[in-house]
Symmetry: C2
Subunit: 370 residues, 2 copies
C-alpha cells in the first residue's frame, strides 16, 4: 500500500498529463502516434457476450494489441467472430480444449470476459497454459479466490491484469495529477455513486452462484476501486448498510442497494452507494481543503465529464477499451508501469474491501482492515 | 408522522406551485402582492449577532411582519439597532428584564437568535411572557430540551416555530411537488452534503457547552432536516461514522466530520455528510425510479439552484428570511398551514435524529428510531 502511494506521489504533474494532453486524436484511436513499430500483443477473448463484443470492436483501433483468437462454448458465436474479425480456425477453442493454447504462438494473452464465478478456474487454466491473463472485474468472487489467481500466475510466470479501464482514462488521471500536485489541498472526502436499474431478472448478474453477489460485485466495485484511486490511500475500516426493496428480483445473497463508508489513514472518509435499482447514478466527487474535483459520468463508457474548482476538464474522449488494450500491451510486453496499477494485487485489494462490506452488512459492525 | 405524509400527498401539484411560479417579483420582495392589508406580526429579535442582522435586514421587505423590538446584553448594539431600524426605547430589553415584554402590545413574537445552549430557557421565558416564539435551529441541544420547549409553549398557549427558512424556498417546494405528483417514480435514495470550513476557533459554534456539539448541530442539521422533507417520510434507523482530523480545533464533544445514513420505512436510504472542514459542500440529490432532482446550492442563502431529469428549475430567488417571516406571520396570525411544517414538533423530530446520530457514533451501532 505504501509503495503505491509513494509511486503516485513521485509522478510529476507534467509526466502524467502529457500522454493525454498532447494528443488530439479522435475517439477510438490508439494512444500511439502512427506509425507504430513496437510489439503487438496477440489476444484471445474468452467469453463472447456483449462486453466481449465491445472489447473486440474497440480493439479494431488498437496499435499494440490485436484480437487473434476466441474461446467460447457456442460454435455459432465462434463462426460469427471468425468472419467478423478474420480469426483462423486454428485459433478457435471451446471450454474443453482451450488448455491447448499452450502450443499456439499466435496467442500471447487471454482476456477472460465470463460470469464472475468462472474467472478463477479459467484464469488458472490460462496461466498453466503459459499465457498472460487479462480478467474482467471483479476478478473473482472474493479476495481468497483472487489471491489464488495471483499465486497461480506468479507460479506460471505470466502476468495477471484486471480490466480496470478507468485507470487509463484522461479526466480521471488529470484529477489524480491535480491531487498529487496539491491543487485540492488536503483531501478530506470522497463520494462515489454507482448504480443502474437492472433489467432482465434471468441474467447471470442476478444469480448469487454466478455473480457472487449483486450490485456491489458488478457496479459498486467502481466506487470501491474509485475511492482508492481518487483518494490515493488504502482504507483501514469499512461500515455498510443494506436495503432491499425487491426481494423477488434480488434474492438471498444478491444485494440490491448498499451504502458503504471507507475510512482512510489520513482521516479521509469515503461515502458510497452501490445499487441495481436506480439510474442517474454515476458520479465521483473528491473534496479537499483547497478545491474539489468531480466526474459525472465517472465510470460509464464515456465520454467522461470532469469538473473542478478551476472549471471544466475537457480532455478528449478515446474509447476506453482501445486505450486499455494498447496500455496493457505495453504493460505485458514492455514492462510499462501504469499510473494506477491494474495487476492482480490491485484486484485483490478491491475484493478484500468488498468482502469487508459484505461482512459489515452481515454483522452491522465496523470492519477493520489490517 | 403519518399525518404529515398524508398532508403532503394531498397537496395538488398546481396548488403548491402557483404562489411561486405566478410571481415574477424581485429578490427580497415579500411574497404578498401589494397592497397588503392583512395583519402584521410585530417581532422582537433576541440576539443581535450576524444572523440576527441578516434577519433584520430581510424584514425590511416584509409585508406581514415588522421588526418592533430588540433584546440584547450589549447596550451599544441596542443603540445601533434603534437608530438603524427606528425602534423606540420602550421596546428595548436586556437579558435580565425581558420578561416584561408581557406588557408590551408592540411585540407579538420573539425571534431567538442566540447560541444553541441558550434557546431552551429563553424560549420558555418568552412563552411565559405570553409571546409567540420563533427559535433559530437547532431549536435546542437535544430532543428532551426541545420537547420541554414544545410543552412550555403549549401550556402558555403561544405558538413555537423554528427558523426552517428552506421550508419556504421555491425550488425546494417544486421538487416536493414533483415527488408528490409521482414525477420521480418511487423515491429510492437521498444524498445530503452539508458543510463548510469553519474559521475562528474561538467562536461559540466550536464550544461543546454553547453549541451542544459541532458541525452536526450547525450545518449537518440541514441534511437531517432535508432528508426528511425531500424523502417525505420519517427515518426508522440511523447509522453514523465520525472522523476528526483536527482535535485541537474540534475538541471533545465537538464533531468535525460525520457521515450518517438514515433508513426510511419504504426502503429509501439517505446518505449524508456533515462537516466543518470542507467547502464546496451544499448539495441535495433525490433519486427515484423515474427521475432525479438535485439542489446545489441546496441550503445556502441563495440563489438556490435546482435541476431535475427534466432540466433546470428556474424559480425566482427571494430573500429566504423575508419569505420566512411573512409566512410565519401568516402561520401565527392566520393559522396558515405550511407545506412543510416549521413548528416545534418538527424541530424535535430533527433533534431526535441528531441524538441518534451521536449515539450511533458513540456506540458504533445502528440506532432504531421508535
Amino acid at each position: 500500500m505504501k509503495s503505491r502511494r509513494d509511486f503516485l506521489q513521485k509522478i510529476s504533474a507534467t509526466a502524467l498529463a502529457v500522454p493525454f494532453l498532447s494528443s488530439a486524436k479522435a475517439a477510438g484511436s490508439s494512444f500511439y502516434e502512427e506509425p507504430y513499430e513496437g510489439p503487438v500483443l496477440k489476444v484471445a477473448i474468452l467469453g463472447l457476450g456483449s462486453y466481449g463484443t465491445r472489447v473486440a470492436e474497440a480493439m479494431r483501433d488498437c496499435k499494440a494489441a490485436k484480437l487473434t483468437g476466441v474461446i467460447s462454448g457456442t460454435p455459432s458465436k465462434i463462426a460469427d467472430w471468425q468472419k467478423k474479425y478474420g480469426i483462423p480456425a486454428a485459433n478457435c477453442y471451446n471450454y474443453e480444449n482451450f488448455d491447448k493454447i499452450k502450443d499456439n504462438k499466435d496467442i500471447d494473452a487471454v482476456y477472460i470476459i465470463t460470469p464472475n464465478a468462472l474467472h478463477k478456474d479459467q484464469a488458472i487454466r490460462v496461466a498453466r497454459a503459459g499465457k498472460h491473463v487479462i480478467c474482467e472485474k471483479p476478478m473473482a468472487l472474493n479476495a481468497k479466490e483472487g489471491q489464488e489467481m495471483v499465486d497461480a500466475c506468479k507460479k506460471a510466470n505470466v502476468k495477471l491484469l484486471v480490466g480496470y479501464r478507468m485507470h487509463f482514462e484522461a479526466n480521471t488521471l488529470e484529477i489524480i495529477r491535480m491531487r498529487n500536485a496539491g491543487e485540492l489541498g488536503k483531501v478530506m472526502f470522497f463520494q462515489g455513486l454507482s448504480g443502474f436499474r437492472i433489467g432482465d431478472p434471468g441474467q447471470w448478474r442476478l444469480s448469487k452462484e454466478l455473480a457472487g453477489g449483486g450490485a456491489l460485485m458488478d457496479i459498486g466495485i467502481y466506487s470501491v476501486n474509485g475511492a482508492r484511486y481518487m483518494v490515493g490511500e488504502e482504507p483501514v475500516w469499512v461500515t455498510a448498510q443494506e436495503v432491499k426493496t425487491d426481494p423477488v428480483k434480488f434474492k438471498e445473497g444478491v444485494d440490491e442497494t448498499i451504502t458503504f463508508q471507507l475510512g482512510f489513514p489520513s482521516g479521509v472518509i469515503a461515502s458510497c452507494l452501490s445499487t441495481y435499482s436506480m439510474n442517474y447514478l454515476d458520479r465521483f466527487f473528491l473534496n479537499g481543503t483547497q478545491g474539489f474535483a468531480e466526474l459525472q459520468p465517472a465510470t460509464g463508457y464515456g465520454p467522461i465529464k470532469g469538473r473542478t474548482h478551476k472549471g471544466e476538464l475537457n480532455l478528449p474522449h478515446k474509447t476506453h477499451q482501445t486505450v486499455q488494450m494498447d496500455e496493457m500491451s505495453a504493460i505485458i510486453l514492455q514492462n510499462k508501469k501504469p499510473v494506477v496499477p491494474v495487476d492482480g494485487e490491485e484486484g485483490v485489494k478491491d475484493l478484500r474491501i468488498m468482502d469487508a462490506i459484505y461482512e459489515a452488512v452481515r454483522t452491522g459492525k465496523k470492519v477493520e482492515l489490517g
